[in-house]
């Protein structure tokens, strides 16, 4: 630790420390994100542009960002467990046709534009937070469902056969063998879902749900590119942050599933 000279083990440990730890990139993105919503004027002066302010909302940018985050978090919190449950059921009762039905429905729904999903949910749920939440939840379920099915079906057959042959009940096989081994793939689905929904949530502004889509819509109406950036930049940073931090979680699950010790000790 305190003396690295001539000690190969210590030198190796040092070179390992020189590589940035996994949390540095997400933390950096988070810092830039917070900075951008608190002091967007800094970014504007950096780019040499300025919103003309014709339609600038009275709501501060950080509040819009929190609204946005709330929408994404709420819809993902609803979408992930439901899609996970459906995916598990689809694989477990694959003979019943549930799997075929869900995969077909999922694939069809994925081709449907998210803007249309949002618009169509208005007559169902009215105006504001509810239709946006509903549409984002439905839309966010698709990648999770797809990856849950793919992940569970990708578990080595030998492991499942051995688990059953040793006397695990179906639920034990699922919880102790299938889910831990499918987790990296499932988490990749969660990541895709959250990233897509972070972008799609900007459309919520048109439904009256607020969020970072508000400056974008105002910017489009007033032909003010700087104002569009005011919504687009934080929203993109939020998506990047979500992607980076979930990817880290995914790597950790992948190491656990492959049995790689996670760098501690060794």
């Amino acid at each position: 630790m305190n003396d690295a000279s001539g000690n190969p083990a210590a030198a190796q440990a040092d070179s390992r420390r020189l590589r940035a730890p996994g949390w540095v990139f997400p933390a950096l993105l988070l810092a830039v994100l917070i900075l951008s919503v608190l002091r967007f004027d800094l970014i504007e002066s950096l780019l040499g542009i300025r919103a003309r302010g014709l339609l600038v909302s009275r709501i501060p940018l950080w509040e819009l960002a929190l609204q946005h985050l709330g929408l994404v978090a709420a819809s993902s919190a609803a979408a992930v467990p439901i899609a996970l449950g459906l995916g598990i059921a689809a694989v477990r009762f694959s003979e019943s046709g549930l799997r075929a039905l869900l995969v077909a429905a999922g694939s069809a729904a994925q081709t449907f534009p998210s803007a249309a999903v949002l618009a169509l949910s208005v007559p169902l749920a009215g105006f504001g937070f509810a239709p946006t939440f509903l549409a984002l939840s439905l839309y966010g379920m698709l990648p999770v469902l797809h990856n849950t099915i793919a992940g569970l079906e990708g578990v080595p057959e030998a492991a499942v056969d051995a688990a059953r042959g040793m006397g695990m009940r179906p639920r034990q096989v699922l919880i102790r063998v299938q889910l831990p081994l499918a987790l990296p793939v499932i988490l990749a689905g969660v990541r895709t879902s959250v990233v897509i929904n972070t972008a799609a949530a900007t459309l919520g502004a048109a439904m009256g749900a607020g969020g970072l889509g508000l400056p974008i819509i105002s910017g489009i109406r007033s032909f003010d590119p700087a104002l569009i950036l005011r919504g687009a930049v934080p929203s993109a940073l939020l998506a990047l942050f979500a992607d980076a931090s979930l990817r880290r979680l995914e790597d950790r699950a992948r190491r656990a599933a492959g049995g790689k010790p996670d760098g501690r000790g060794a």
């Binding site: 030998a158 056969d161 051995a162 042959g165 040793m166 006397g167 009940r169 102790r176 656990a256």
Partner: protein, 315 residues
């Protein structure tokens, strides 16, 4: 101990097992052998209800297996498969501990048992903290055997357990498994398509074809099989030589006192098999070998007639 009575199992229009009868006595190692697709794996899997037969009945300890809930039945039967199926997200120790944990055996007892099982299959207890991805094929299969034995089941089902390792490792695993079996006296049903493996391991061999057991006998009894029928053809003409691998040189050697020295004769260990002795004779074109004991001292000599017995003269 295990009895299959008129087992029938079809997949679609194909009959995988077509009226198979087989009985395995307690403590016996029965090798079920046959060409690919003859239904041997399917038959094996009816014993722990991984496959439910369309008709017929499997008895374990005199009781029909369908009277046991499948999970409880399986926890009492060791199960080893060709692909091993170690859980990649668990350490070697946790893999071995799976069935004892399912049975609710207490933690302290399980830790000791994991170490004992690893030692039994020739791995030191330090292996317990390793991960399956760090193991070679042979090591993984040792862990597979340790895992199957961990709850001390009276019965073992082994489905081509050494089928996917290299020939040298396979022979070593077979030898070690045989040593374990001589200590533990499990009732074993062992599926393979490798005749040599069957000869090395079996107390009895059952030959299967198209879903039926054609013949069930000791390896020695198969020597007299008519070479023209399926069993003879499947075992091959070399069976008569292969069977020599079941006997050791020390069982038939002539003690050193009985005969004079034969200088220049190639030497062979007393623990070698008669098949190896015959191989050496054929390679060196000699009729006589000098036998050495474990310390390299001369223990006697071996002549070709000791290996092959008496011969019928040509007409």
């Amino acid at each position: 101990m295990i009895r299959f009575r008129n087992i029938v199992k079809s997949y679609g229009s194909a009959r995988a097992v077509d009226g198979a009868d087989l009985e395995i006595a307690p403590g016996e190692l029965c090798v079920l052998i046959g060409p690919s697709g003859c239904g041997k794996s399917t038959l094996l899997r009816t014993a722990n209800r991984m496959v439910e037969p369309d008709s017929g009945e499997v008895f374990v300890d005199g009781r029909p297996v369908r009277e046991h809930p499948p999970e409880e039945l399986r926890r009492g039967i060791g199960y080893v498969i060709q692909s091993v199926g170690l859980f990649p997200h668990m350490t070697v120790g946790d893999n071995v501990a799976v069935v004892p944990r399912l049975l609710g055996i207490d933690k302290g007892e399980i830790a000791g048992r994991v170490d004992r099982m690893l030692e039994l299959v020739g791995l030191s207890p330090e292996w317990s903290s390793r991960w399956p991805r760090e193991l070679s094929g042979g090591e993984a299969q040792r862990v597979g055997v340790a895992r199957a034995l961990a709850a001390d089941p009276p019965i073992l089902l082994m489905d081509e357990p050494f089928g996917s390792v290299d020939p040298l490792t396979r022979v070593r695993l077979q030898r070690e498994f045989l040593a374990i079996q001589r200590r533990l006296h499990k009732t074993v049903l062992f599926v393979t398509h490798d005749v040599e493996e069957a000869i090395r391991l079996a107390d009895r061999i059952a030959v299967m074809r198209s879903g039926r057991i054609l013949r069930h006998a000791t390896p020695e009894e198969f020597v007299a099989t008519d070479a023209e029928d399926f069993v003879g053809e499947f075992l091959g003409l070399e069976y008569g030589v292969e069977i020599l691998s079941r006997r050791r040189v020390r069982e038939v050697l002539r003690p050193a006192a009985e005969i004079g020295s034969d200088p220049g004769a190639p030497s062979i260990r007393a623990e070698a098999s008669l098949k190896e002795a015959l191989g050496l004779m054929a390679a060196r074109r000699v009729e006589c070998l000098s036998v050495t004991d474990g310390e390299g001292r001369r223990a006697g000599s071996l002549r070709m007639e000791d290996v092959l017995g008496t011969w019928k003269a040509c007409p």
